[in-house]
């Protein structure tokens, strides 16, 4: 089998950081090639070099594609040759329709006049190929992330694609959508399309990859061939972190005390469609030192529930009571919720979590400036110590705390958001998809921190679409479906099957 792509000796530096150091990767024609590595290892950067986001001349090394040396000046050059990249952060225009998005910059037009019927017909075809059952004129903003991901793929297919690059496509998908996407990749492979898949979900990688390149600290560590022998997840982890990891979840003996947090009859309505009830009379409680999970499918209303609770940041007509230590607390604004000891770590770090132009230090202290200031005046040194402390504790990979967060890798951005809320020192920490896009090693570190928090007598509420994570971490799990809690399971009795069973049963009600 011959190689469709060979990247040799790629080195790419940013001011103060060597993101890639002499990286080699070879992708054979018609294979699914996985690219793995810890957060900040350089995976996204490597793919940006390949696709021309970083043009020839801004890196050193050679790219051979389809048997020829290539020097891309921009994305247009690589796209022309069939290299299509779907970035880690989706890049669709929310207020345009699916069809408009798919043909954006590539309109079906003659003399500048768009032929909409052709575009719609073609869109329908493409949507069928990717298995998305939506009308071409649906606005993208009305689609969930999973479906948006499929639109991105349909968009890629609308161009002549020979090498498809997917940067963490399944990070925000649930298992079912992820499986559908992987099946799609296998179909493409059968049609001779090669793909490069970046993911932190190693089970997916061992399922579909033909070969795996492992990056560590900007260098190639090894390339594993899955056609010769089955590669286990543990084997991949060993390559990534340079040692074996015995457990994915830290051992933890919960010390559970009395109930400290209660939500009673919490309801919220959709912000625009006033009569749609999104959160339906939720009752839940958390005990001291307890880690409680909320399971559910994408769109079950978990984020909406958490955000409506956190300073009414979502929805309208919100009703219900929140009690901390048996006393009702006011959570009507974010400020009040925070000062009453509630913190919410968002699932969408770029939109809701970070000030991207600011550095790590300023992001970490933003929710608790009082903690680093004296009568409104910020103490620079104390602030820096705090930031350095979190940078070390959470292993935030960066040149220093003065690095702008926009330049951090996705996983490291997540750790900055987490640091911000840990520093606010809440009584109750609500984590929404806390390990999205985070590598195995860092996940373990975050789990350890969650456990420490619980042991310190706090309450933790974890919203996650990764069931193994909930099962591995939580002492008790609620199951949410269509805005209501439909089941409650203790750690001992909970299992993936039971949770799914509850959801299916709830859906049939």
């Amino acid at each position: 089998m011959n190689a469709i792509l060979e990247m040799q000796g790629i080195t790419k530096t940013f001011p103060g950081v060597k993101a890639l150091d002499n990286v080699n990767i070879t992708v054979k024609a018609g294979e699914i090639h996985a690219l793995v590595g810890e957060n900040g290892a350089g995976k996204s950067t490597l793919m940006k070099v390949l696709s021309g986001v970083y043009p020839h001349g801004s890196y050193s090394g050679d790219i051979y594609y389809d048997g020829q040396e290539r020097r891309f000046k921009g994305i247009a050059d690589s796209e022309e040759l069939g290299i299509i990249i779907i970035h880690q952060e989706l890049a669709l225009v929310p207020l345009l329709s699916i069809a408009e998005n798919i043909f954006l910059g590539n309109e079906q037009a003659e003399y500048g006049i768009i032929d909409w019927s052709a575009a719609f017909a073609r869109t329908k075809e493409l949507l069928k190929t990717v298995g998305l059952n939506e009308s071409p004129d649906t606005l993208v903003t009305n689609l969930g992330v999973g479906k948006q991901q499929l639109v991105e793929i349909a968009k890629a297919l609308s161009k002549k694609v020979k090498l498809l690059i997917l940067d963490e496509p399944t990070a925000s998908l649930n298992e079912k959508d992820s499986d559908a996407l992987l099946a799609l990749l296998l179909r493409f492979k059968a049609q001779g399309i090669s793909s490069i898949l970046i993911s932190h979900k190693l089970n997916e990688i061992s399922k579909v990859a033909d070969s795996i390149t492992v990056l560590r600290d900007g260098s190639t560590v090894e390339t594993l061939d899955c056609r010769l022998e089955a590669i286990s997840e543990d084997r991949i982890i060993r390559g990534m972190v340079g040692r074996t990891m015995a457990d994915r979840y830290p051992k933890h003996e919960p010390k559970i005390g009395e109930t400290i947090f209660q939500v009673e009859n919490w309801s919220a309505y959709h912000p625009i469609h006033t009569n749609v009830q999104v959160v339906k009379g939720i009752n839940l409680h958390i005990r001291r030192g307890e880690i409680v999970g909320i399971a559910g499918l994408m769109g079950a209303g978990r984020t909406e529930f958490a955000m409506s609770l956190f300073g009414r940041s979502y929805g309208q007509n919100i009703s219900g009571r929140v009690l901390l230590h048996g006393k009702e607390i006011d959570v009507s604004t974010v400020g009040k919720a925070v000062s009453n000891g509630i913190a919410y770590v968002t699932e969408d770090r770029k939109t809701y979590g970070l000030i991207l132009d600011e550095d790590i230090r300023k992001n970490v202290t933003l929710a608790h400036l009082n903690g680093v200031s004296e009568r409104l005046v910020i103490d620079d040194i104390r602030e820096m110590k705090v930031a350095n402390d979190y940078r070390r504790r959470l292993n935030i990979r960066s040149s220093n705390v003065f690095q702008q967060t926009v330049n951090l890798s996705g996983g490291n951005q997540q750790k900055v958001v987490l640091s911000k809320w840990l520093f606010a020192d809440p009584e109750i920490l609500i984590l929404d998809e806390p390990t999205r896009g985070i590598d195995v090693g860092a996940k373990y570190e975050i789990y350890t921190i969650i456990n420490q928090l619980a042991d310190a007598g706090k309450g933790v509420l974890v919203i996650s679409s990764e069931m193994p994570e909930l099962l591995g971490m939580c002492d008790r799990i609620y199951v949410m479906n269509e805005g209501a809690l439909i089941a409650e399971l203790d750690a001992g009795e909970a299992s993936q099957e039971k949770i799914m069973h509850a959801i299916v049963k709830g859906g049939r009600r």
């Binding site: 925070v338 132009d357 005046v377 292993n395 990979r397």
Partner: protein, 398 residues
């Protein structure tokens, strides 16, 4: 797992000159361009630019632009714009004139009342922007028309003046010399030396602190050079002014305000929050920042400063005219952007805005001395704005 980053936490902080110059080019580039522009006009005007008399004029002509640039910086950093400041200048100036000249109200009461009115105007506009999310461009465009019209109505289309001498001193007065020097104002020189000493003390202290805590600092040579340059500039400026009539009152007001706003933006929680608000409003809100109130306050603040500028401008002309303040908003906004603020919010510095204001001021002044017509002055200023922002964007991408 813990050893991975441990080694790079204490990476060397004393960067080399070249590296530092590269990464901090934008910070110093600004100041150097201003100096280059001044040098240029100093040469082509045969030394007129830096004559004490002209220097004094330069300060007086620019004071109200600089003062408004401070408020505009906050507005722009918060992600908004205020087009109405020129009209507010005219309106408040007219109001002061009517109060003092027609109704004989004393200057102090008038000044206080006018600042309050400025704040109320800012509040009225900020209210729509902050709480109803009407784009600030629209609200302040409306405000610009409204207050231009109200100025005309208030003054009945006529000029009103002159003002009591006490009020004129706001703009045309100089600080008295407590040492009673003849033809040389020792107090001015003394103030210059004192502020240099304070400046040097604070920058050494903060550098010492930074070094102690391993923060990236400028190379020592550059640090000394920067401080020495500033010291020389300030002291020679004060010396020149002292040989004429001393430091103008308005310069003192301006200097105090610059120091105050630099402090607020750099060191206080409210400053930090404004930057966060402009950088990402949603994230700021979810971090517990009262984004609406903060937006509102930046407009109130802008209104007060525009009111102050209106008073200073009226005092300088010694009369209020319906045309006062016309087009000031453009100079103010240009100053902030020349100073490196980002049009999308979240980025910008007080020092940059002040330097930007002086770039505009020196060009206005220098070109007038050269006798360049108002027509080509505008063309040149427009091009300078474009080039300055282009360079900024270009170096940001690098």
């Amino acid at each position: 797992m813990d050893t991975r980053v441990a080694d790079d936490i204490h990476a060397p902080r004393q960067t080399s000159w070249l590296d530092f110059a590269k990464t901090h080019f934008r910070d110093y580039g600004m100041l150097l361009s201003l100096l280059a522009i001044m040098l240029f006009f100093q040469v082509v005007t045969n030394g007129t630019l830096l004559r004490p008399l002209n220097l004094t004029n330069l300060v007086l002509q620019n004071s109200y632009i600089v003062i408004m640039a401070l408020g505009m910086l906050l507005v722009i950093v918060a992600g908004h714009i205020d087009l109405s400041v020129g009209s507010i200048v005219g309106f408040v100036g007219g109001l002061a004139a009517v109060m003092m000249v027609r109704y004989g109200i004393d200057p102090v009461t008038t000044t206080i009342a006018c600042l309050i009115v400025g704040g109320l105007i800012g509040a009225a506009q900020g209210y729509w922007v902050a709480f109803f999310k009407v784009p600030s461009f629209i609200v302040t465009l409306a405000g610009m028309l409204v207050f231009k019209g109200l100025t005309l109505a208030l003054l009945g289309g006529m000029s009103v003046g002159p003002f009591p001498t006490v009020f004129q001193r706001l703009s045309s007065g100089f600080i008295p010399d407590v040492f009673g020097g003849e033809g040389f104002n020792y107090t001015s020189l003394f103030l210059g030396v004192a502020s240099v000493l304070a400046l040097v003390y604070f920058s050494f202290r903060s550098r010492a602190n930074q070094l102690k805590h391993d923060v990236e600092t400028a190379p020592f040579g550059l640090f000394v050079f920067k401080n020495a340059l500033l010291a020389v500039l300030i002291i020679s400026f004060c010396y020149l002014m002292a040989t004429y009539r001393g430091l103008p009152n308005v310069l003192i007001i301006m200097a105090v305000l610059i120091a105050l706003y630099a402090f607020v933006t750099n060191r206080t929680t409210i400053g930090r929050r404004i930057y966060a608000l402009g950088g990402n409003e949603k994230a700021a809100r979810l971090s517990g920042i009262k984004t609406e109130r903060l937006t509102f306050l930046t407009f109130v603040n802008m209104g007060v400063l525009a009111g102050l500028a209106g008073l200073i401008f009226a005092a300088r002309l010694n009369t209020a005219t319906p045309k006062a303040g016309l087009g000031f908003e453009l100079d103010v906004i240009a100053a902030v952007f020349i100073g490196g603020a980002s049009a999308t919010g979240g980025v910008g510095k007080v020092t940059g805005a002040v330097i930007g204001a002086f770039v505009m001021g020196v060009m206005n002044n220098g070109m007038s001395i050269l006798g360049i017509g108002i027509d080509y002055q505008q063309v040149i200023k427009g091009l300078v704005l474009l080039i300055a922002v282009f360079l900024d964007v270009y170096y940001k991408k690098k």
